[in-house]
């Protein structure tokens, strides 16, 4: 598909003549380029405007996300400009989707400041996403080389040390988000925390939009929550925590809240994705310095991750967040109420948890990604899940995950403590059966029914939610296999 006219112009007089030159001819399309081990690679889904040549579109993305502007500038000649130019080096049509292409682009390490997600993203998802010759643009995946990865802290705590601190091994962690999300007083809110933790959960959680509102200011929330946490620890002999959301308007406010959480003895704090990449990195460094686990709620992500044609794949956000240094990230449930194709979710979970992620197009993973001993990031499954799905959750999501049942705990007909106990019994029964070699995918309902014989709360949970499934087609799916949808 190489067209001689579409390649770098080597005659410098012609190359730097004032005016507008196709990006290809400026050197941003180079199909012969062999990416270096130290290059940062990105694959974009591009949808060129009608009549725009796809190679030119790919070259334009490379140009606009690195050195280029719309016209030739002589000042390029003061630099070793081919070194700084990103190179579109490969272009593949998207299988089964006419008009869309996967464009592979290589960026030299020197284009980026060390340890800065803000700097990385200002290039990769900067101006280029509004570029007129493209109808749509989506960042599908990235390969971040160890040379650059090692300039990032990575998860403040990591899965292994989190488990050691919590003294919890061999099963998913259990959590619940406090409901209703808004309106409870601090005193009533702490009641829900206490009941859920006493019933058998490891964690309870503030919701993303609980900060410091008229119905409950943050300091009251922290005090009452920690009363609930400590009472539950004393009632069970287990280490427990409540994700105290420290999200606030300014860094100063967030540090103040985080310090108060630390001084109260909380094991974990929480932030929202909407605070921004720099604030997230600051909080990750604070969490490492202060030995706290850092939970990230991905509030806002669906505005740009859900549609396949435009935006950023969540697997890229997960990768950035592992670099940025959070310990928990909401990463999908497959079976719950929120977006989640099984193959896409698998790719995201691998990105969070594996020490070396292999290319796997069926899971949306375009590149090998070694993680260079950055800690592992604990995925969190939350949104519309209940005890009756436990065998599916463990089958899909494995063991290193926090399963969060909000409504599935607090909405239990016998109360919050019973709801928590139902979830814990269901989980322990499924893990025990899996370890014994039983086929939990097929026999799960029977295993749960048997466990419910000695656990009335589990029987009630199974009866209440037996018909609840969220079986809709996913909007974000992979392109290399027929689309699978969530099992019922």
């Amino acid at each position: 598909m190489n067209k001689p006219m579409g390649r770098r112009i080597t005659d410098l007089t012609q190359r730097f003549k004032s005016g507008v030159l196709p990006y290809r001819q400026m050197g941003y399309w180079d199909p012969d380029y062999a990416p270096k081990d130290s290059d940062i690679l990105a694959v974009f889904r591009i949808t060129p405007q009608d009549g725009v040549d796809p190679e030119e579109a790919a070259a334009a993305v490379a140009g606009e996300s690195s050195t280029a502007t719309w016209t030739v500038v002589w000042t390029d000649r003061l630099t070793d400009y081919p070194h700084y130019q990103a190179k579109a080096y490969r272009l593949d049509p998207v299988p089964g989707t006419p008009g869309q292409y996967f464009a592979y682009i290589a960026y030299d390490l020197d284009l980026f400041e060390e340890g800065s997600i803000a700097n990385l993203t200002a290039s990769i998802i900067g101006n280029v996403f509004g570029f007129k010759p493209l109808k749509a643009l989506r960042l599908e995946d990235m390969r971040v080389p160890p040379h650059y990865l090692k300039t990032f802290q990575g998860p403040a705590t990591g899965i292994v040390v989190e488990r050691e601190r919590l003294n919890c091994f061999g099963r998913p962690l259990l959590g619940a988000t406090m409901k209703p999300k808004l309106g409870l007083s601090g005193r009533n809110y702490g009641r829900v925390v206490y009941e859920a933790l006493k019933g058998g959960l490891d964690f309870t959680k503030d919701d993303e939009n609980i900060n410091s509102q008229p119905f409950m200011y943050w300091r009251d929330r922290f005090l009452y929550c920690m009363e609930g946490v400590n009472k539950a620890v004393a009632q069970t002999g287990e280490i427990k925590g409540h994700y105290l959301n420290v999200t606030a308007a300014t860094m100063e406010d967030m540090y103040e809240r985080a310090e108060f959480a630390r001084d109260l003895g909380s094991v974990i704090i929480m932030i929202d994705l909407v605070i921004g990449y720099t604030a997230i990195q600051s909080m990750a460094k604070w969490a490492r310095r202060n030995s706290l686990i850092l939970h990230l709620h991905r509030a806002g992500h669906s505005t740009y991750t859900r549609q396949k044609s435009h935006g950023i794949s969540f697997r890229v956000i997960a990768k950035w967040m592992r670099m940025a240094g959070v310990d928990h990230i909401h990463a999908g449930t497959v079976v719950g109420k929120l977006e989640g194709d099984p193959n896409v979710i698998r790719g995201i979970y691998d990105t969070c948890r594996e020490t070396h992620v292999r290319q796997n197009l069926e899971h949306g993973i375009f590149f090998d990604q070694p993680w260079a001993s950055l800690n592992k990031l604990m995925p969190v499954a939350s949104g519309g899940i209940h005890a009756g799905q436990m065998h599916q959750l463990v089958s899909y999501l494995g063991e290193d995950v926090v399963l969060q049942f909000g409504g599935g705990t607090i909405g239990h007909p016998m109360g919050i403590e019973a709801g928590a106990a139902a979830n814990r019994v269901a989980l322990e029964a499924i893990i025990k059966a899996r370890n014994e070699g039983q086929d939990i995918w097929h026999d799960g309902p029977q295993i749960l029914a048997n466990a419910a014989k000695t656990c009335t709360p589990l029987r009630a949970a199974l009866d209440t939610w037996k018909d609840v499934t969220f079986d809709y087609a996913s909007t974000d799916s992979v392109d290399f296999v027929p689309t699978a949808t969530a099992a019922g």
Partner: protein, 139 residues
């Protein structure tokens, strides 16, 4: 109260055969199984006493059960747990942990509050059993 540390504390106590099957799973994964015991069940009592070192080269889960039973016989009124260690890169930590023996009576924990400035509260948790010296707790 029933202390609910470990993987299976919400289920009925495991039978010997169920313990053996869990140990067989651990051994199949390539993990080394160990037995530990304590009379101080504080949730942050990290270092229980070791009933020998982890059984690194053991291939048969029945061998673990022998050690579990020997430990239970020597310490019938203490907590005994089975722990599995994974030495693989990326883990190098505990992968399983479940209680296989507990005292007949579990009195639980005292929660002491110290009131501090600004409505802050300092919390301390102490097992009632640990008020007595080691060796004189539980029966």
């Amino acid at each position: 109260m029933r202390i609910t540390q470990g993987q299976f504390s919400f289920l009925p106590d495991l039978t010997d055969d169920e313990i053996r099957r869990q140990c067989a799973y651990a051994i199949d994964q390539g993990w080394a199984v160990a037995v530990e015991f304590t009379d101080d069940p504080h949730p942050r009592n990290t270092y229980w006493e070791m009933w020998g070192i982890p059984m690194f080269d053991l291939k048969d889960a029945a061998g673990v059960l022998l050690e579990v039973n020997a430990c239970r016989k020597s310490h019938p009124d203490k907590y005994v747990k089975v722990v599995a260690f994974d030495s693989r890169k990326g883990f190098e930590s505990i992968r399983m942990c479940f209680i296989v023996n507990r005292p007949k009576d579990e009195p639980g924990f005292d929660l002491a509050r110290t009131e501090l400035r600004g409505r802050n509260v300092g919390y301390a948790i102490r097992p009632y059993a640990a008020v007595r010296p080691a060796g004189q707790r539980y029966g």
